[in-house]
Symmetry: C2
């Protein structure tokens, strides 16, 4: 068994069982790939692919299990390579962050700016998606870290750590009647049409729960995945907005007013998600700590090894 064979195998699977495409991506010949896979099948004594005549048609049931393990082997081998680069003080590299719009736009800029200054040789990539896509990217190895408020803690394949606690606020147009009420209440909010986040985004679950508990069914007239869209429509007078407080900037958002709603909705916690057992280069720890200062290298390491460990903020 050789690592190369596993690489070939996984690439064929990733290319939708197309051996030629895999060979091309691997910069090698197609017969070579074909042969190595057959050799692996022979060594293991298991057919991994079902071949219709000469065409690779599907993955056998044992093949699925084998592919899963092969991917783990390759991932660990990749960890080794990363560890090598890290210890040899190689400054170049890449950091791929998978995150949601709200985080990318309002929470990350500070940490990102500090990072690119400190590590000019490291290319930083931001991938955007919804929380479950973000989690999947990290699981699949396409991203190094996931940052999101929802979902991450429930994904078993990831180690997740709390970064920031934050809460929601209500945004309205200037001179809106809500601005005159001396204490903001859920009942008052529910009287107006609402513009807020899409399901499974930026603490939307907390918003729903708060209304449900009071037996209120607010009229949500528009949902968006990002705070800017919400703000735009609130400015247009479509309704009042419920967004993360951090998404409101009094200087930029002159056409809007923010009412703190920390007492109405549960606090949300932004979390960082990491691949279980992954080797993280020094700059990854640095980035994490720059984003969430309480997450020291030791804490992250402890969580990565322990697996089940977690703590509340």
């Amino acid at each position: 068994m050789k690592l190369q064979q596993l690489r070939y195998l996984c690439e064929v699977a990733r290319q939708g069982l197309n051996v030629s495409a895999a060979a091309e991506r691997l910069h090698t010949s197609q017969p070579g790939v074909s042969k190595q896979i057959r050799q692996l099948e022979e060594e293991l004594g298991v057919d991994i692919f079902v071949r219709n005549g000469k065409r690779v048609a599907e993955v056998t049931e044992p093949g699925k299990a084998i592919l899963a393990i092969a991917e783990r082997v390759l991932r660990e081998a990749e960890n080794l390579r990363q560890a090598g680069k890290d210890f040899s003080n190689e400054t170049s590299g890449s950091l791929v962050i998978a995150t949601t719009h709200t985080q990318a736009r309002y929470a990350l800029p500070g940490a990102v700016k500090a990072f690119v200054q400190r590590y000019p040789g490291v290319s930083l990539v931001l991938h955007q998606g919804n929380p479950s896509q973000v989690a999947q990217m990290v699981i699949a190895g396409e991203a190094d870290v996931a940052i999101a408020t929802e979902t991450l803690a429930e994904v078993k394949e990831l180690v997740s750590l709390p970064c920031h606690a934050w809460h929601h606020g209500v945004i309205v147009r200037p001179r809106h009647p809500l601005l005159k009420e001396h204490a903001l209440s859920l009942e008052a909010i529910a009287r107006y049409p609402i513009v807020t986040y899409d399901t499974a985004f930026a603490g939307r679950s907390r918003i729903n729960r708060a209304f449900e508990r009071k037996g209120l069914s607010p009229r949500v007239v528009l949902t968006a995945i990002d705070s800017d869209v919400i703000k735009t429509y609130v400015e247009l007078g479509l309704g009042i907005g419920i967004v993360a407080c951090m998404a409101f900037d009094p200087r930029r958002d002159r056409g809007l007013r923010m009412l703190d709603a920390g007492h109405l909705f549960e606090t949300s916690t932004t979390r960082i998600g990491l691949r279980h057992g992954a080797f993280l280069r020094r700059y990854v720890y640095d980035f994490i700590q720059s984003f969430a200062p309480q997450l020291t290298r030791d804490m992250v390491d402890a969580a990565m090894r322990g697996g089940g460990i977690d703590f509340e903020m």
Copy 2:
């Protein structure tokens, strides 16, 4: 990077940094091992070993991290091989069980007997040790499953599952005064010299805790790691014994009497410990279920993937 290089590397580390010894164990030449390791070091750009002149003296700090990852790679590769054997219906193989005396002697015989009948081609090996040794054997890959009452649940590197709940009993000689008391109490027990398990064995922690809670400090005159030694000394009149109920057999132990003490000590739970993420061959699942019928393959799999999952009995 090749698997072979990692194999060489780990073997050298395991042989106490002796390249020649590693080469011999790997059935290859010593220069080959030496060269491959240097190549790996060059590829990774990291010195793994500190060489005093021409002698390998110690592992560098980065080397330790690299060794840890290399071992993970090899373990996954081994999983692949096991998966191959399993799916190709190869009947031969081995099952190494690390366990304590009490389990081996009183809990396992039934499951072991059924196993060797059902899988005559699989060689079953029992390794004995104290609970933490047992856990270490599985972590190190020397054993496939750990079975013990203490320790396993706390070891993070293992997935542990509850098998049997059991409790302690008090054994005394015939005509002992305790036999006449109509309700056994801790206070009554504490009046006599006690023979029981060594620290960290077979629920000894529960025994201690029960007495502590009542503020009693019983006089323990002898501790042993196995029930048979305890029984022997109780028969000799050294004191009364506290052992697992399952260790008492009225037909064999004619010179002794057993008093149930389930109401005095907390229930102990025998657990099975498995290496996190390991591939288990079919017969391993069968063995586990034969030992603890509630542990179906699906349950074991769920626990292995989930990592943090657990349930109480």
